[in-house]
Amino acid sequence: MVAEDFKDFKLKPMKCELNYLSKSDGSAILAQGETVVLASVNGPLDIKITSQSMEKATLEVLFSAKGGKPNVSDRFKESVIRQTCETAILGCLYPRTGITVTIQELEDFGGLLTCAVNCTCLALLNSGLSMKHVVAAVGCALDDSGNLVLEPTYDQIQSAAATMHFVFDSRAKTLVTGFTTGIFSEGAYDEALERCRAASDLVFDFYREVVATYCKVIG
């Protein structure tokens, strides 16, 4: 069994605080190693009639880098996160409304996008929006000699031949989103996928831990 072999994986240490922003409906700040992201969720809200949808909530995702002019890679991140969230949120329960997800990068030491996806998921949990499942993003890098490194550091990413990132859902661990850079073989991709799938368990456990810290007192 492939998954069994990877049980003892270590991810970067994760640290999280929910409800960090008082004005947002849901917010989370998450540090994965040295990469830090802040996410806020507002919704369901009233939006312009032109962007309303009869069937489901309109999801708007904004990614804002720490500084500098907005660029194409920010838009790419937005679209990845939007598509991922759309599968997770039960938008059909909130027709003709809008849900706004705003993500602020605080520190980038590699794995920014995976951290952003996980942080968004935590913010969604905090906001109390109905979701089909939770999602967990895990990244890995393929170095020149063909070894897979789970959750690579900044230097490892710079020297990597390829990086692969996967997002899984919590129900059957099916692949929700995948994005890669660089050149790699089919076999390496499959192995990376299985490893990340196994490692996603750790992220789901972390979510449960975070929720457990506060849910005893809210009732």
Binding site: E17, S24, E34, L38, L62, G67, T102, Q104
Partner: protein, 372 residues
């Protein structure tokens, strides 16, 4: 999403309590909320929180051609971004009056006050100068954005270090931080903007909260006397750099004077806090301690949702430091458990109400007991 309208109850309550010499969160008129400055791993990156208002500022630099009229001066550019993260009523990528106003005030305070030595940013006259870009991102809007944003801008500018350059003939080499120690920006003085909410004709509230700002501007829109926000820019030498009034005209001459006097004291204390934060950050960096925004995430709260600042507050009391064996003085007769005069009665489904117990005395009788 429109901004939530403020109700009449809130308005009158806040006005009354301020007229009575108190504030909703237990502060006195001249008291500001708790100021915290955290730095990120890069130079020129900081997050400032004033109570629950949070602002992130990041300074970045690039080499550009100088402006024709000022060939030997660097360029500074301030960009304020209020995303829906700050509060749901803000729309993404849209310039509102609020954003423009905030941007203009910061430009006035930092560009027009000439606090930055722009000439030191020059590399080659008429060809190459450093352009500093300050990105100010509002993360949470709980009132007094301008003060928080200005402290963040100043902290980021003071903390920022640009790469060193050497000129070899016609070529300019920019050294990375690892190669050569970066150079800090020269600031002649440290101006900060301080906000005062004017209530009535002579009440000045420093560091107004969201609801205080809203009530203040409401009073102005209704046309009754007073009601405005006065922004005073002040540096550490107690020199005013900026005055800005939104809302009603000031009738009372003394009020500006009073605000400036108070701002000069406060401005100095803010700058002191800021300088201290930068020095302690510098010493940590010298010791090669890694500084990261991850440090601001605290897991020490028993519950991760705990609120640090409760917007409605009694003076000198904090629910978080409850002492289970509190030795509150108790009179002997208080110890006798009296049956409650009031009772929570479930009335309609999902509501409960406090009612005077039918058989017991009513409120009015309490006073009549005292009369006996």
């Amino acid at each position: 999403m429109k901004e939530t309208q403020i109700s009449n109850s809130e308005k009158t309550f806040v006005q009354k309590i301020i007229a009575g010499g108190h504030r909703l969160d237990g502060r006195i008129y001249s008291e500001t909320r708790n100021l915290q400055i955290a730095f990120g791993s890069d130079y020129g990156s900081c997050m400032v929180s004033l109570g629950e208002t949070k602002v992130l500022a990041q300074v970045s630099c690039e080499v550009v051609q100088p402006k024709q009229i000022r060939p030997n001066e660097g360029i500074i550019f301030i960009n304020v971004d209020i995303s829906p993260m700050a509060a749901p009523q803000f729309e993404a990528n849209r310039q509102t009056d609020h954003t423009v106003n905030l941007n203009r005030l910061l430009e006035k305070c930092y560009k027009d006050s000439k606090c930055i030595d722009l000439e030191s940013l020059c590399i080659v006259v008429e060809e190459k100068v450093w352009s500093l870009r300050v990105d100010v991102k509002i993360l949470n809007h709980e009132g007094n954005l301008i003060e928080c944003a200005s402290i963040a801008t100043l902290a980021a500018l003071a903390h920022f270090k640009r790469p060193d350059v050497t000129r070899v003939g016609d070529k300019v080499i920019i050294h990375s931080i690892a190669e050569k120690d970066p150079i800090p920006t020269v600031l002649y003085h440290y101006p900060v903007c301080l906000t005062y909410a004017i209530f009535g004709s002579d009440i000045l509230l420093s560091d107004p909260s969201y609801i205080e700002e809203a009530v203040c501007m409401c009073t102005f829109e209704e046309g009754s006397a007073g009601g405005g926000l006065l922004v005073v820019g002040m540096n550490q030498y107690k020199e005013p750099c900026l005055l800005d009034l939104t809302g009603a005209a000031i009738h009372n001459v003394n009020i500006v004077h009073k605000a400036i006097l108070s701002a000069s004291e406060k401005g100095k204390s803010v700058v002191d806090v800021l300088k201290k934060a930068i020095i302690s950050d510098d010493t940590l960096r010298l010791k090669r301690v890694k500084i990261n925004y991850a440090d601001i995430i605290t897991t020490e709260h028993k519950q991760s949702l705990i609120k640090k600042d409760i917007s409605i507050c009694l003076k000198n009391y904090n629910a978080n430091d409850i002492n289970p064996e509190s030795d509150v003085e108790m009179d002997d007769d208080v110890q006798i458990v009296e049956p409650s005069k009031y009772d929570v009665v479930p009335t309609l489904p999902k509501t409960a109400e406090l009612k005077v117990k039918a058989e017991k005395s009513a409120w009015i009788e309490i006073s009549s007991e005292e009369d006996d």
